[in-house]
């Protein structure tokens, strides 16, 4: 198992939770939307914080690259956090169109972001952090049990 494998699985897990939340909100099934969105948001935020607190610092320490790809990923995390807040506000107010619009914007941004991570950043991390047992264990500890795909 590579260092970042659990992160790949967790992306797919978040995709599924997004699809559930979006479908419920767009249908106007607000009861389900609240539950599904909360689960999705919690998982996505856990993913961001795991990367920001475990993976990125280890990568930056190993390579000395502080202003490069990890800074870009952090910026996109901030954009996505803002879109999550817009979705939350739309759910609180029970308004369909703003919810659907924020969800669609988040989807495209999130997919682009994931592709950059999976195709560029994670392979770089796997190469530079191959010997680090701590990082792999730290990532798994935070995300593995949340994520049925990797179990």
């Amino acid at each position: 198992m590579s260092t970042t494998e659990v992160l790949h699985h967790h992306h797919k897990h978040c995709d599924q939770l997004f699809a559930d939340a979006e479908a419920a909100g767009v249908k106007g099934d607000w009861g389900a939307a609240v539950a599904d969105f909360t689960r999705f948001r919690d998982e996505l935020l856990a993913h961001f914080s795991t990367e920001e607190q475990v993976l990125f610092p280890a990568f930056e320490a190993a390579t000395g690259m502080v202003g490069g790809p990890t800074q870009m990923m952090r910026f996109e995390h901030a954009q996505m956090r803002e879109l999550l807040e817009q979705m939350q506000a739309a759910i609180d107010q029970r308004v369909r169109d703003p919810f659907a619009g924020a969800a669609e914007t988040l989807l495209v941004l999130m997919q682009q972001h994931n592709m950059k991570e999976e195709n560029i950043l994670y392979p770089m991390c796997d190469r530079t952090l191959a010997g680090s047992v701590d990082v792999a264990a730290g990532l798994r500890e935070r995300l593995e049990e949340k994520c049925p795909a990797s179990a």
């Binding site: 995709d15 599924q16 997004f18 699809a19 979006e22 479908a23 767009v26 800074q71 870009m72 910026f75 996109e76 901030a78 954009q79 803002e82 879109l83 817009q86 169109d97 703003p98 659907a100 619009g101 924020a102 669609e104 914007t105 989807l107 495209v108 941004l109 997919q111 682009q112 592709m115 195709n119 560029i120």
Partner: protein
Amino acid sequence: MHPNLSFEQAPPIWVPYRFFLTAPLFGIATGLLLAWSGPEALASRWTPAALALTHLMVAGFMLQAMCGALLQFIPVAAGGNIWRPTLVAGVVHPMLAVGAALLAGGFLAGPGPWFAVGAGLIVTALSIYVVVVGIALFRAPARGATILALRVAIAALVVTYVLGFTLAQGLRGVGGIPLLEFTHVHAAWGLGGWALLLLSGVSYYVVPMFQLTPAYPAWLGRLLPWTLLTALLLWATQLTGEARAWHSWVLLAGLLAAGLFALVTLRLQAQRRRRVPDVTLTFFRIGMASLLVIVLAIALITVPPAPTFLPVREWAVPIGILTFVGLFVSVITGMLYKIVPFLNWLHLQRLGGLTVFPPNMRDMIRERAMVWQMRLHLAALAALLGAATWPPLTAIAGLLFAASCAWLEWNLLGGVRVYRTFRDRIRAVDACHAP
């Protein structure tokens, strides 16, 4: 001012937009020309009007949309660096637009000097484009199905326009060129090489992304470009002027590969995890269904005996309508409806930083407007196919198609208006806060 992170290499927004906003104008021109030409335009694929209509679609609508999209796509999806994109777009875009208009006019009025100027403009513009995009593609760090498809597509574009230019010389009386065979090879490389491979390369990237489908299987990404390239090379052996019986089998092999791409795309979309209605998805399905019908129809008329059960004046006409309007206009429109709102959002987000947040994607182009434009597009497609069998429908079909392209233009311009309004608001806020 704000961190320029999310798109370190992406070109300025007007680079793709100038192409995107020009493409539907050629669609409007196509529809109006068809309505004005009347029923005889579709009597055969070789009428002057049919040739003009075809080139308004391929060298106008499709080439504009595809060239613009690739300038955006290569840096973002493949990590390739386009050399001075603003300058390249500023030179290539007007030359292509004027060239396509002159070419279509030349087909209508007879291949006079303006026809030659049009062909020359297109060849010059595409040569510049191919060098710049080719260098970016061959230096790009990305590997995999998308980049392979794009590289073969660009090579096929070169073959297409070189053959096209040669044909233009032939039409102007430069002797010794077997026009029929050259036309067959020119069309196959343009549609089955450049256009289809570009579509496949972009699809590998955007279909999973927009609908949360499984990834395309790796075997398709290898099989499609190599099969199409081999088939196109064998198909090109008829340039000597002698088409042989086995050329039909080469055609069928290429069609089979194209049909596989359509089937895999439809299957992946059926397995999508995203479950909300989406206009881009419907446009894609219309496109893939059209591709399957095209494959079946060409296979039917290629393998003898030719069918007699449909009162079609010439099979090439409905197949052409399905190719240009059913397949390519559908998928291009569907993608524009995602790309333009997202690029708006991304560029505005970059301008405003994390303090001024832009409207979301659905505030850029209204969903209702896209859905109704799609219905009009479908009506136009049905009417065009109807006109191929029942000529009195021709004028109405042309007007419907012009109207659907005008509506597409209007929707895209609406997106641009939202962009401008919000951009000006951000600048005003920045000006207030300036020291």
